[in-house]
Amino acid sequence: MKPARIAAVVAKETKEIARDPVTVAVALLMPLVMLFLFGYAISLDVENVAMGVLDQDRSPASRRLVDRFVGSGYFRLAADYATTHEVEDGLQRSAVELVLVVPPGFQRTIAQGGTAPVQVLVDGTYSATANLVAAYAQAIVSDFAGDSAPRVRVETRVWYNPSLRSVTYVVPGLFGVILMAFPPLLTALAIAREKETGSIQQIFASPLTPAEFLAGKLVPYGLIAFAQIAMVIAVGFLWFGVPLRGNLLLLAAAGLVYVFCTVGIGLLVSTITSSQLVAMLLALIVTLMPSFLFSGFLFPIFTMPYLLQLYTRVFPTRYFVDLSRGIVLKGAALPELWPSVALLLAYTVVVFALAAWRFRKKVA
């Protein structure tokens, strides 16, 4: 590896990128777009759920129960039904996600100290929120019942994300997904483009070694990726108000290791493919998809079948999501985190070596 030749490739590549402002703009904007979209869209919080009421009792007690629902802040009264037909219709049309049915004689039964049945119908087509909605409804009803006869109270404390805001936990995970999605895409296109235009042939017929050529490509794209990290982290903390409990420098350093790893994956992809289109599709398949499914970003790894859990270890996103959440939410430091950092470093080296080995200076 001759540093002068690597420097020549770095300089050439940097100029090419700099003269393509559209690509640079897209490279810097896309991660932000994704961060905003997902930061706002992926919310597991139950808020403002449309609810319908079929109140067959029409009594002060039944109205108090409905007020409890609305007053909780999680539900809003969207429809007042008179018949069970209307209830069915409302759920069918998705006008409401939950219907509270209060049977006749509700107030009288309570007044007599008996157990009054109340029905809660939940639209279960989206099971994740349905569970939560049902649980919230259950809690409100129990609370309502408990008023009359106080019993044992359980005090639950949630650590690390006491308000249970999903943004707090989605955004640090998103760092990992975004940095896996965009830097490799850009890099994979970089070599495939040279193959398409034929300029790669001039590289083949030159003294440049594969490692020198790839290293020269790695540096400028690594820097762009680092700009992406900085932006995404800044927006995550300043805009979404995610609390930072750990060390910002540690997070940035881990991010740097991680992007060199993801850029390396892009290089590896582009050594295999011959056209930009294939490079792009392959990059999306090997990076974006697994980083969504198998990083623990949305779907917790410990609930997966054992074989899939092993599979998740193949993807570096998993380690970075652990690192990111550890630093941001738990305030963890290097003593707890070094195994993940070491794995990321090892991964980067292996990916780069694999790319250099795969990159043959031959046209076929």
Binding site: A7, K12, A205, P207, K362, A364
Partner: protein, 584 residues
């Protein structure tokens, strides 16, 4: 050179296989220091593959190659570190400037910083690129891009330079400068090996290797190769060209026929010679004389001498009336002060021209002279900035659907669908021209027969040779029997034999009343055309037939079309006289 080899290149039984087919096989080649060797041969003969093997960027599947004393497989890096290799097409970085491209090549090749400024100045001066130092490579003309590519391969002063079709798609002026640079470089004692489809380039070689279907079928000096076609070439000037075709039927010794407006050249098998019966038949049409073979004649003879299959001349389908256009216009094309601006740049500048119905009109000019833009204006693909044009009796302008049905357009890049079969492409274009089903079927059958594509209907276009794709593109543009046919660089990169066939077909279309407007870089092809228009920097600087263009120049008339072309450009540059040929 390592190991004290006496040859710069030594290939022994070298071959390369792609899948089941051998692109190059059993090639034995020796090139000594300072030699200049050319590879010629038809499309797909294996020229590029062989060059890539010699550049050590493609491993041989059989045999071995030694280049500069190194094995191309085991010591590939030693070879690539030393040689210069210029691939086909444009392979520099278009977003980098002239200087940056050259500097990148120099840094990668470890040219000492102390020597770089001097070499840069010398190379760019020779290439005429000094005024464009900071222009992006992609914004240069094709000729300049090729010259810059050559500079980047000369900057480290390689002992061996490999060039793949250096002149392809380059205008004659730039091609001349390219060769001047190569001649100059050669004086340093370097070895040059290149592939070409220009026969004038082939004549510059010390030695030629003629490739066909992956094998070297003949090697020698241009003179030695010409000797192999000695006595095989006859020229005649028939009064009635149609009679020649009849005379040539049932003549197995005939290998090829070149149709020129002034003469017909017949190539026969040199082993058989011209038979008495054929000579008698031809002499009835006019005097027949033996002609010294040109490099193009050699190409025809060598190609065919090795050909196992019968030469597939374009077949003669019954009912040639189909060749006639559906609509016979009074005037083919007429433009008045046609102008097209791109920003501040005048791509087509005040062009007034008239092309008669049934005429073959050639537009000649350097890269960027405005030929393609002019054709696109005439086809209504691009609106004019000012001026007017009538094509096939239809005013070109917005909403000229009628125009589309009267013209055919074959673009530079052959707009075919590479993943469809020949038949599917034809079906698509027939439906695009809204031909009724029955008529489409007849038109396709006719077009396939006329262009000699019979039997290829089920083949995928991507697997056809360049020449076959060229004829398919022509077939597609002929389906609706257009009155005016536009052909933009139809023969670029196609071997001479295929070009002859192509031109013969164009000649027959014209004879049946189709007006043809064609652009070409092969200036010798001007001889196939009735009239020429010379374009320079967007202007039509001259138009007329060859004799009148020659006569309009003062002094000794230029011998070749190339010299004529250059004389007119020179005149336009110095501003002496505005136009010639009586058109403007």
């Amino acid at each position: 050179m390592a190991g004290g080899d006496e040859y710069v290149i030594q290939a022994e039984a070298a071959g390369r296989r792609f899948g089941d087919s051998w692109a190059v096989r059993e090639v034995d080649l020796r090139v000594g220091p300072g030699e200049i060797v050319g590879f010629v041969g038809p499309d797909g003969a294996g020229k590029t593959t062989l060059l890539q093997m010699l550049a050590a960027i493609l491993d041989p599947s059989a045999g071995r190659c030694r280049v500069l004393g190194f094995d191309t497989v085991r010591q590939a890096s030693k070879i690539t570190a030393r040689i210069g290799y210029m691939p086909q097409g444009f392979t520099l970085y278009e977003r980098l400037t002239v200087v940056e491209n050259l500097a990148f090549a120099a840094r990668v090749r470890a040219v000492p910083a102390s020597q770089f400024p001097e070499r840069r100045r010398r190379l760019l001066e020779m290439a005429g690129l000094l005024p464009f130092l900071d222009r992006a490579e992609g914004a240069l003309s094709g000729g300049m891009r090729k010259k810059l590519a050559l500079c980047t391969n000369l900057v480290h002063e390689p002992p061996l330079l490999l060039l793949d079709e250096p002149g392809l798609g380059v205008d004659p002026l730039s091609r001349r400068e390219l060769w001047r640079m190569l001649e100059d470089f050669r004086r340093s004692g370097a070895t040059i090996v290149f592939a070409t489809s220009y026969m004038d380039e082939a004549e510059r070689c010390d030695r030629l290797a003629f490739l066909d279907r992956g094998r070297i079928v003949a090697q020698g000096t241009p003179g030695e190769l010409c000797a192999r076609a000695e006595g095989a070439i006859f020229r005649l000037q028939p009064a009635m060209p149609a009679g020649v075709e009849d005379a040539l039927t049932d003549a197995p010794e005939v290998l090829g026929v070149q149709w020129r407006p002034t003469e017909v050249r017949v190539a026969v098998d040199p082993r058989a010679g011209l038979s008495q019966s054929l000579r008698r038949r031809l002499e009835r049409l006019g005097p027949v004389e033996a002609s010294p073979p040109s490099m193009e004649d050699v190409f025809v003879v060598l190609r065919q001498a090795d050909d196992v299959e019968a030469p597939t001349l374009v077949s003669e389908p019954a009912g040639s009336s189909r060749l006639a256009p559906r609509h016979r216009p009074a005037v083919g094309i007429e433009t008045r002060s046609l102008t097209r601006r791109f920003g501040g740049f005048l791509a087509v500048d005040d062009v007034s021209l008239r092309v008669n119905a049934g005429e073959i009109f050639a537009l000649l000019g350097a890269n960027g002279a405005g030929k393609t833009t002019l054709i696109r204006l005439l086809c209504g693909l691009l609106p004019a900035s000012s001026g007017s044009a009538r094509v096939a009796d239809v005013e070109v302008g917005p909403g000229a659907g009628r125009l589309r049905r009267r013209i055919g357009y074959m673009s530079q890049r052959f707009s075919l669908y590479p993943d469809l079969t020949v038949g599917e492409n034809l079906d698509f274009f027939a439906s695009a021209y809204e031909l009724p089903r029955r008529e489409a079927r007849d038109a396709i059958a006719w077009a396939v027969a006329t262009t000699g594509l019979a039997g290829t209907e089920r083949r995928i276009v991507a697997r056809l040779s360049g020449a076959q794709r060229q004829r398919l593109a022509l077939a597609c543009s002929l389906l609706h029997r257009p009155a005016v046919l536009f052909l933009d660089e139809p023969t670029s990169g196609v071997d001479p034999l295929a070009r002859f066939r192509f031109w013969r077909l164009v000649g027959r279309l014209s004879a049946s009343g189709t007006t043809v407007v064609v652009t070409t870089h092969y200036l010798e092809e001007a001889a196939y055309c009735h009239r020429l228009g010379l374009m320079h920097e967007g202007r039509l600087i001259a138009a007329g037939d060859l004799p009148s263009l020659r006569a309009a120049l003062p002094g000794r008339p230029p011998a070749t079309v190339e010299e004529l072309f250059l004389a007119y450009i020179e005149r336009a540059r110095t501003g002496v006289g505005a136009a010639a040929g009586g058109q403007r």
